[in-house]
Symmetry: C2
Amino acid sequence: MTMNSALRTLKSIGREMEILEGTEALLHWDKSTFLPKKAAEQRSEQVAYISGLLHAKRTDPQFQKAVQQLRRRPKGLSFVEKRLVEEYTKKMNKWTKIPLSHVEEFSKVAALSFKAWERAREKNDFTMFAPYLEKIVQLKKKEAVYINPKGHPYEVLMDEFEEGMTIVKVEAVFAKLKPELMGILSKIKNSKRYKAQQPRTGNFPVETQKLITQDISRMILGENDCFCCVESVHPFTTTICPDDVRITTAYQEDPLFSFLSTAHECGHALYELGFGDQLRGTVLFDSPSFGLHESQSRFWENQVMKSREFWQYYYPFYRKHFPALSAVSADDFYFSLNQVRPSLIRIECDEVTYCLHIIIRYELERALLEGKIAVKELPQLWAAKYQVYLGVEPKNAVEGVLQDVHWSEGSFGYFPSYAIGTMYAATIFSKVQKHMPGVRGGDFGPIIQWLRKNIHQHGALYPAEEVVRKSCGKGLTADDFLAYLKKKYYGLYGV
Amino acid sequence: MTMNSALRTLKSIGREMEILEGTEALLHWDKSTFLPKKAAEQRSEQVAYISGLLHAKRTDPQFQKAVQQLRRRPKGLSFVEKRLVEEYTKKMNKWTKIPLSHVEEFSKVAALSFKAWERAREKNDFTMFAPYLEKIVQLKKKEAVYINPKGHPYEVLMDEFEEGMTIVKVEAVFAKLKPELMGILSKIKNSKRYKAQQPRTGNFPVETQKLITQDISRMILGENDCFCCVESVHPFTTTICPDDVRITTAYQEDPLFSFLSTAHECGHALYELGFGDQLRGTVLFDSPSFGLHESQSRFWENQVMKSREFWQYYYPFYRKHFPALSAVSADDFYFSLNQVRPSLIRIECDEVTYCLHIIIRYELERALLEGKIAVKELPQLWAAKYQVYLGVEPKNAVEGVLQDVHWSEGSFGYFPSYAIGTMYAATIFSKVQKHMPGVRGGDFGPIIQWLRKNIHQHGALYPAEEVVRKSCGKGLTADDFLAYLKKKYYGLYGV
């Protein structure tokens, strides 16, 4: 094979993978939005079939040969092409090391486990889910050994989401975060304002919420038709092809759920729509890590959409649409939006407590994979940690260990990405906060420009931490986040 | 290969085809409903890729070998299995006779031709579309020769939609229909009521129309979630998997457009949801012809939803929702709904003139394929026929020869299915009209039961005409339709 023919093979099979991934994404999007319940089983078969085709492409001997040859003789390749070969080499390594029989077994067990998790939630009974989770843990341990028998199983699995991240680095950040967050929380809880705070009440019609979410998506994503906002039980973002990135949302009584989740998903979508054109059709047309992706969504959700500047701009319009707010001042609304309140449910919690929820999950799943704790101990350990870190205790499994879908699908090592993304978002914010005064006038342009230029366009050309380091002068650190929290929340609570 | 292993091959590859067809259907449904415009090209690539995979399965040598072997030694096969082998033999014959190079060329030309048709419609200029149509005609002639060099090209192409139907049979029906319909129309036009009739006016909000279409789909399809009604430019029905059949609709000023098109699509969907379970995952889980499919949609649209019995039941509810109708009596509304009015646009026309629109298209496309007329002559010939058959003349190409999408995509031989379906619907109605009194009380049960038992469950086990003959005692005939029209419309117009 000449270099050119190897490159052609690499690119054409890469393009096939992109098409199959997009088709699979559409099958999933549709499953969460329009698929009739009765057809769920049939849809799973369609997804399994397309996944099988994708796996065949990923392990295609022609493709492997082309990648290996280009890796051995990279002379004459452009920078992007070299990175492409590197990235495919890494991925191929995983794709080919895990035997197909394992992939198939895992996919069957995961489907059953997901269903068991759903049933267990309905009945609020962890024991219905426990045997499936045990099997999942066992299979994930096995998978880690296939990929790297010498590595720490947790680190090997985390690499799937956070390429190149190590346990040592994550531990260092968490070791700092945990006491600091508990300290901030304790200070807030002792404040007068905390003791007097009240939950939001009032009637916020869904039709009006829809109008607001449309407005938010136009603000962040612009007046294009490159996304569409339909409802699903859990909001998510998915890319079906480069110019077709979709977000979903859900409406609850509290209008801030749809508001903030839309801002969050728009952050993801803006990132997906911003990858450099020269990366299209390749594995580099992607984010280098889930953490960096999460930084983009959490940045919009928290740093922008929960800021005083944003609500100075937006509140007059917002209040006009919700009569329930007619007697609520901008200041009071801003405070209610940012109220700190240790709670049991991760996806509804505030900025201060968020990472404590993550750390609890990290500690438990790591111990599980290290064999230090057993599945059946999870509910008590979960409750104990919530008691110590947050001062609250779940009354049952649904508001405790059964709340997240991740483990049921075997996504061990995923949770740290949420915290990493939160750290990156704060570090990025330290660079762009000079543009926040513009937000008072509704101008998001300079912020979007900065993100596009410094983060989005690179796709997966560089590791996540390098992307942040290049643009912000430092890698993963808890410092910016803690400084941001202290400034904002000590101010809010007058402590 | 043993019989059992051949059967396994047949069924497993058949199942793969079903999955790929369903995936393609989802890509198409999504293209018409949610896809951002900007991603149209990328979606075409996804569709082309999945079509390619489907073609590979259809021409898989293993599959062919299995079918051939079972055809040669059918002993021991069940009735359904024998029919399966027959049906695959017929289809395989077509799939393998048309060279891949032709399929690919046609698919490219068709894509360009469709775009040219859209542009030509925008500019109202047939000459922009003519060169593409010439190319399409040429390729379809070539295709007919590939399939059967000795057959009449029109009959060969019609067989794609109406398996087993002959030109002789179609001609016989049309030869009767044409003068009779022109005669009925002439009688109606000379009536007092015709001369006094007025078009419907008033304000019919889209939100209320939506409520009505939801109600209609519940009435016909029941309280399941096996369908969802979203908007697309042209309403259609599609099956993504056996329990996932979807209809779309569109809303116009006149509320009867969404009402009747929803009834029409629900008729298609009810049929698709009614195929026998033992046919799942095979090529027999389908209708044997487009005509029989169309009979199901036209039956609900016309025989049921335009009936006096239905509106006796439904009008009080309908009028309550549209204040514009508060002064309109049930009788007047029923008449306005069934007004005969020769017009230029097929999809908006009445029951009496519908088949004349079809016959015009049939005569022109047949002459085109026989080389008796040229593409450039179409606009004048079209206008002349409308003048003679219907007494109206298009002022331009958009309300004339450019109105239908079919030719731009090369669907020659499709139009007769609309007329055939109309004949079948009337013949079926002659058997079930005894249940119409029940409709006055909102009871569709006995009609649905009859259709399920006599038409739907058979899928493609028997040829279309045989399905009708078995249940109604006769095959394709214009008699029932003409009798139905005369009874209904002579009554309405007092002639």
